[in-house]
Structure formats: structure tokens, C-alpha cells
């Protein structure tokens, strides 16, 4: 049964055959795209999990240090100490193209190269714990940026994989079978027409011969 009504003509048949070839090629290409995306994605997502676990542990210990530092000094002193940061991070976002998915690549620059510029205060009124806390946070920063990069890539690729998978499935289970069904229907219909024409011709020929020679009367 044809899924939808098609005109049983040769032109339609040619059109459908072309459509089928395109669909099959598209299906193959998309399937390859999906497989390759998936391969890269699985590597990336493993790294994502690794970096995330590391960052979370780093932030956790940094937070603990901050709590200790806060306990050792007054809130006002702490706020003053961190009020005017000397250091500033700026971010450069490049582009990486993975199977036509645009993935940002982050590169960060500190405003000053001096790694001691993370301490934005004189050491006179702050506790030593604060130095350690700030240092521990600064140590996590590169991993945090890497995490942002990898996690964003994973999110974008996951969305793309989902889209591609749907397209592959639609082609495989809907478009291609439907087209083939229609092609079959048209072929059968055309064959049937041809047979019916042939039979009619044979019949006419019989009748004409009968007219001319009167075989049945002999």
C-alpha cells in the first residue's frame, strides 16, 4: 500500500528514484557524522567528568580555606582586603570546528604576569590563612577554564548528536521506506498498464483477423 497518493507516471518514478538515491546518500553521510561525533564526544565527556571532579575538589578545599580565613579576621577587614582586586582575567574565545559543530576554545590571560598580584591587599591586617585560601583558588583557575571549555563542548556536541540521530532515524525509518514503497507502487502500476495495453492490442488483432478471414466459419 502506498503511504500517500502518488501519480503513477514515469516522470514521478524518475523523480522518486532520484529522491531515493539522495536519501540513501544523505543517510550514509549523516550516519558517519553521527558515529564520528559520538566517538569524539565520548572522549570529551570522560575528560569533562575528570576535570569536573578535580575542580569540585579544588573549590571545596579553597572554600574551606576561606572559611578558616574568615574566622580569623573581621568581616569588614576581609571585605576591604578583597575589595579592589589587582588581578584581572581576560578571555580569548577561539573556534574549533568538530564535524560542523562550532566549539569555543578558551585562552585566558592575566592582566599582569606577576603571580603575586592575586593578593590584593597589604599583609598587615589580614590573616595568613587568607593568603593560602586565595592561592588555592588561583591554583584551581586553569582547571576551571578548561572545565568551562570542555563542558560547553560537550553540551553543544550532545545537542548536535541528538539532532543528527533524529535525522538519521527519520531517513532510515520514514523517508527511505516511503519512497521505496511509492516506487514499487508506480512500477507495478506501469507494468499493469503495459500488460493491459498489450492484451488489448492482441484482442484487436484477433478481431481484425477474424473480420478479414472468417476463421471461425471454416
Amino acid at each position: 500500500m502506498a503511504a500517500k497518493q502518488v501519480n503513477p507516471t514515469r516522470m514521478e518514478l524518475t523523480r522518486l528514484k532520484k529522491k531515493r538515491i539522495t536519501a540513501i546518500r544523505g543517510h550514509k553521510l549523516l550516519k558517519d557524522k553521527r558515529d564520528e561525533l559520538m566517538r569524539q564526544y565520548l572522549d570529551l565527556v570522560r575528560e569533562n567528568m575528570e576535570v569536573r571532579v578535580k575542580v569540585e575538589a579544588g573549590i571545596k578545599s579553597a572554600n574551606r580555606n576561606f572559611v578558616i580565613a574568615k574566622a580569623g579576621m573581621s568581616e569588614a577587614a576581609l571585605n576591604t582586603a578583597l575589595m579592589a582586586p589587582k588581578q584581572e582575567v581576560s578571555l580569548e574565545a577561539g573556534d574549533r570546528n568538530v564535524m560542523s559543530v562550532d566549539i569555543p576554545v578558551f585562552e585566558y590571560k592575566m592582566r599582569t604576569a606577576d603571580e603575586n598580584d592575586i593578593y590584593s591587599y597589604g599583609y598587615a591586617f589580614t590573616s595568613g590563612d587568607l593568603d593560602g585560601a586565595v592561592k588555592s583558588l588561583a591554583d584551581v583557575l586553569p582547571d576551571m577554564i578548561r572545565l568551562a571549555e570542555v563542558e560547553k563542548a560537550c553540551q553543544l556536541m550532545a545537542a548536535e548528536i541528538e539532532k543528527t540521530r533524529r535525522r538519521v532515524n527519520a531517513l532510515e525509518h520514514v523517508i527511505i521506506p516511503e519512497t521505496e514503497e511509492s516506487i514499487k507502487y508506480i512500477t507495478m502500476k506501469l507494468d499493469e498498464n503495459e500488460r493491459s495495453t498489450q492484451i488489448r492490442l492482441m484482442k484487436v488483432k484477433d478481431m481484425m483477423l477474424e473480420e478479414a478471414h472468417h476463421y471461425s466459419e471454416m
Partner: protein, 108 residues
């Protein structure tokens, strides 16, 4: 040239100011949402958000997932790790693969 911001309750994020990130202390859900939108529109490449603030936002975070920038990344706050970040990674695996085949046992 992009900048990096950290969104969350003040106690969780004040330390990031020292290492050179912009901090945006927020208190309510509405404030978080508006701040996030504002940051996304004004040239921030990465926005770190505490898991607690992100949980309050709920679905509003998903719209940033498919954008190229900013990357909105959940980090644990001072009140502890809720596991939402790890959950987020698992969610992308589920989205891509169909089911979580990699980290079935991690973080539970």
C-alpha cells in the same frame, strides 16, 4: 575579548574576586535570572554559577546550554557539593547517547 563572571551568594564567591574574576552576588531567584541575562548579553565568555543558585533557576538555565557563548558552568558553593554539576554532565550523556552508559555509578 571576553570576561569571566561568577554568580552566587556572596559567601561562596567573594574569593574569586582576588584571582581576577568578576563577582555578582545575588540573593533571589529573580535577581539571578536577570543578572545571568545581563551577563550573557554583555560579553562574558564564561559564567560560573553556584549549584544552589542554578537549582533555584531550574529550567531557565537550559536556554544557555545550546548557545555557543557564554558557557554557564555550575560550581559547588560554600554550603557544599550538591552533585548538580556531575548530574549535568550525565544529562548531556543521556541526551547524546540515549542512556547514561558511562557514569552509571559515579557520584551516587
Amino acid at each position: 575579548m571576553y570576561k569571566i563572571a561568577v554568580v552566587g551568594d556572596y559567601d561562596s564567591i567573594y574569593g574569586f574576586a582576588a584571582v581576577g574574576l568578576d563577582i555578582c552576588p545575588v540573593k533571589s531567584r529573580e535577581e539571578t535570572r536577570d543578572r545571568l541575562r545581563q551577563l550573557a548579553e554583555s560579553g562574558y565568555g564564561i559564567v560560573y554559577i553556584t549549584e544552589k543558585a542554578a537549582a533555584e533557576l531550574g529550567g531557565a538555565l537550559d536556554e544557555y546550554m545550546e548557545m555557543r557563548l557564554p558557557a554557564v558552568i555550575q560550581i559547588p558553593g560554600v554550603s557544599g557539593n550538591t552533585g548538580a554539576g556531575v548530574q549535568g554532565v550525565k544529562k548531556t550523556v543521556e541526551q547524546a547517547v540515549g542512556s547514561d552508559i558511562l557514569f552509571g555509578g559515579v557520584g551516587e
